[in-house]
């Protein structure tokens, strides 16, 4: 056990830190007002800059344009990005999930065709996994694809899709064989979002944003060379993608939580309760300390998990505790923030009385999604129960 950075890790960190210091756009502010489209163009530009500097897709092997970064280097990357308050990258799904899936399961032609443009943000990617009747129960996918000559004809609907409105391509899970048990009849296709018959409808969520979309497919033609992995072996490919979803991403999240925590402590000095600053109120001190401690434990949990992945090579089902931990922690934290801010907590973005441009009102509402997205807390607890503790499967 040695939590100090090794000489190589230090060198990597310093090089990245210096690059970020020079290159993070100074006019970036997560809470600035702009249209969704304008923001996305800005984020594409930022990703191009990272790519030119050699910092996009660092986990990818060198032969595909990455750096072959070790897991700890990836952790450092997300930490440094968060510390530098750098903008996110436009092609976040392409870089984090779909690129690695193509690298693991794709053909040589697919790798050559798709990977470079994922890195350069020239082609933006989205995912079509969930459906109205296939959320937690992903194997219940009904969106169907039937083979006609050299093409699959896709019909159906997807939901909870991010970036669909901006995407050029979609990693799509479809049912190619309805006559076999659920998991066995699925296939993963790469679908051109400009194909005739694709419709994207924004889905407005409780925060008021349209972060997600519904996708509709009517007789959309996808050439057979766009199958990833084997036909009817899509479950394996999809699960491979979802394992990446629980990867090193969280390292940056922890830093963001810590920054929010520090900000809340600052606010506790200026907000008053019972005639004194909240910072001096013994009950709030207990609550703030609890949040602070949990954010530190989140980091310790992550580091232990990363060390285990480094040793075994794959993220295991015990990653489910990270998902439960960060999502439920954020809900508790946002609640404490609301208690601390009192009536100010409810004030949204553009109101002149809003504290921190409304990030607390937004954060509170948005946090309800945390225990639902990327696998609900209930599903994560099922995974722990069955795959980690070996209890019998309940469904």
């Amino acid at each position: 056990m040695d939590l100090n950075l090794s000489a190589d890790e230090l060198k990597f960190r310093d090089e990245l830190r210096a690059w970020l210091k020079e290159n993070v756009p100074r006019d970036w502010d997560e809470w600035r007002e702009e249209s969704l489209e304008a923001r996305f163009e800005f984020l594409k530009g930022w990703q191009r800059k990272l790519h030119n500097g050699g910092w996009a897709g660092i986990s990818w092997p060198k032969e595909f344009g990455g750096r072959g970064a070790s897991l700890m280097q990836q952790v450092i990357f997300w930490q440094e990005m968060a510390l530098a308050q750098a903008p996110p990258m436009a092609n976040v799904l392409g870089l984090g999930l779909i690129g690695p899936t193509i690298i693991a399961f794709g053909t040589e032609a697919q790798k050559k065709r798709f990977l470079p443009k994922i890195l350069s943000a020239e082609e933006i990617w989205c995912q079509g996994f969930s459906e109205p009747d296939a959320g937690s129960d992903l194997a219940n996918v009904r969106c169907e694809a039937t083979l006609e000559g050299g093409h699959y004809i896709v019909n159906g609907q997807k939901v909870w899709n991010s970036y669909g409105w901006a995407a050029h391509w979609c990693e799509l899970v479809v049912r190619t064989d309805p006559n076999v048990p659920q998991h066995k009849g699925l296939t993963v296709l790469l679908l051109d979002m400009k194909s005739p018959g694709v419709e994207v409808r924004p889905l407005r969520q409780m925060t008021g944003e349209t972060e997600f979309n519904e996708l509709f497919f009517r007789d959309v033609r996808v050439p057979v060379e766009n199958v990833v992995g084997k036909v009817n072996d899509g479950w394996k490919v999809a699960i491979g993608t979802l394992m990446h979803e629980r990867g090193t991403f969280g390292a940056g999240l922890q830093i963001m939580y810590r920054r929010n925590m520090d900000r809340l402590i600052e606010l506790s000095r200026t907000m008053h309760r019972n005639g004194r600053p909240v910072a001096q109120d013994p009950i709030f001190r207990q609550k703030l300390a609890q949040c602070y401690a949990e954010i530190e434990i989140m980091r310790a949990n992550q580091m232990r998990a990363y060390s285990r992945i480094s040793a075994t090579g794959v993220p295991g089902p015990e990653g489910s505790i990270q998902k439960i931990f960060w999502s439920e922690l954020n809900q508790r934290f946002q609640q404490v923030a609301q208690e601390l801010l009192g009536p100010y907590g409810q004030i949204e973005g553009t109101d002149a009385h809003a504290i921190d441009k409304g990030m607390w009102a937004y954060g509170y509402l948005r946090s309800r999604g945390n225990t639902i997205e990327a696998g609900t807390s209930e599903i994560q607890r099922n995974i722990i129960g069955h795959f980690v503790l070996g209890l019998p499967k309940s469904y």
Binding site: N4, Q286, R304
Partner: protein, 376 residues
């Protein structure tokens, strides 16, 4: 960066698991729980033979000279086995205080016999105000004589000497010294007994150089080592309760099915797992931070003890609930762990105590440091 255990750390942990499974099974724990002191001389000799009684102490005193992480791993396994008796009191508590404060001669007289397995000890901290803050001690020593009362002192009846914290420093008292009476307190934990100590003009030797009038600095760090060891011991207890509970959920049948098939039961177990693993991460991190003397070490210790204090209780609650009526019986082993959990929860500060310490560090101290910096 590597947060996994090194090969030698893993070997230590595995061999400790094997050792306790062989020498301190549940039947042995139950037998010792029924005794007055929960102490077994033969078991103690075997602990010494393994070198466990000197694990973190310098080799010149007969110790193994290992680090705080190794201590945490050993304590985790001791907690897993619910090791009865004065191991925690002697090694993690008294040994750490001696190591931090004693003069070279005192170490030779007191630490060497501990490493050798020839002496047992403990630290008397609390008074009737039950404050874990060493600065709250009111008892004092005048003319090398100690008078007053200490409460909740673990394993005092089988200690050879006792370290007593006082207003004006820390002191060594021979367990057979005149004027000392040791009276059992009826604590919930049957495997680690507690006592009330009454001193009346009892001879006491100042711990550390004679010119020291306070033990504050060294004592605080030594108690942090002990708190981390305790948090690690609690992790071991949680792990065992989790395993016992999961095994039960796989075999106990209702409605013709093992109860572990029901999600209401699975999710209790999943939460036990999450709480156990998170406590482990926090305890390991605290041990490492102490070993490295990291700037956040004191905070890391409070975070570990705070989280473990709450988690140890909730893991026990869930374990008993999953066992149903069986979990409520004396016959079932869980209550021995549950009793230990409650005693450990309060020992060296409960969650509320440590949350206030964290608040002090991250709300007050951090603010003052920033202000001082901007004034420069």
């Amino acid at each position: 960066m590597e947060f996994g255990l090194s090969e030698s750390q893993q070997i230590l942990k595995d061999s400790a698991r094997k050792f306790f499974a062989g020498e301190c099974n549940m039947a042995q724990v139950r037998r010792l729980a029924e005794t007055e002191t929960a102490y077994d001389a033969a078991l103690w000799s075997k602990l010494a033979e393994q070198g466990f009684t000197g694990i973190i102490f310098p080799e010149e005193h007969g110790g193994l000279g290992l680090g705080k992480v190794e201590l945490a791993l050993l304590m985790e396994e001791a907690g897993y086995a619910l090791l009865p008796g004065p191991f925690f009191s002697t090694i993690a508590l008294a040994g750490s205080v001696l190591d931090a404060l004693a003069t070279a001669e005192q170490k030779k007289n007191y630490l060497d016999p501990i490493c050798e397995g020839k002496a047992r000890s403990t630290v008397a901290l609390l008074e009737d105000n039950a404050s874990w803050d060493p600065a709250a001690a009111r008892i004092d020593v005048a003319g090398d004589k100690l008078s007053g009362t200490k409460l909740f002192v673990t394993d005092a009846a089988i200690a050879d000497f006792i370290i007593v914290t006082a207003r004006n420093g820390a002191f060594l008292v021979d367990a057979k010294a005149p004027g000392l009476t040791i009276e059992p307190m009826k604590g919930m934990d049957l495997t680690r007994k507690i006592y009330a100590l009454h001193f009346k003009e009892t001879p006491a030797e100042r711990l550390g150089p004679a010119e020291h009038r306070s033990a504050a600095g060294g004592l605080a760090r030594a108690l942090e080592v002990a708190a981390t060891a305790l948090a690690a011991e609690m992790v071991g207890g949680m792990q065992r309760v989790l395993e016992i509970t999961v095994a039960y959920a796989k075999t106990r049948k209702q409605f013709g099915k093992p109860i572990g098939i029901f999600q209401a039961v699975q999710h209790q177990c999943a939460d036990m797992y999450l709480e156990t693993e998170s406590s482990r991460s926090a305890a390991y991190y605290a041990a490492w931070a102490l070993e490295e003397n990291a700037p956040d070490a004191s905070n890391a210790v409070s975070i570990a003890k705070m989280y473990a204090s709450d988690a140890c209780r909730t893991v026990g609650n869930r374990g008993i609930q999953v066992h149903g009526g069986m979990g409520f019986t004396w016959e079932n082993d869980l209550h021995f762990y549950y009793r230990r959990a409650k005693a450990s929860e309060t020992m060296l500060g409960d969650a509320m105590f440590h949350r206030e310490h964290i608040a002090h560090l991250v709300i007050d101290a951090a603010h003052l440091a920033r202000e001082a910096k901007s004034a420069d």
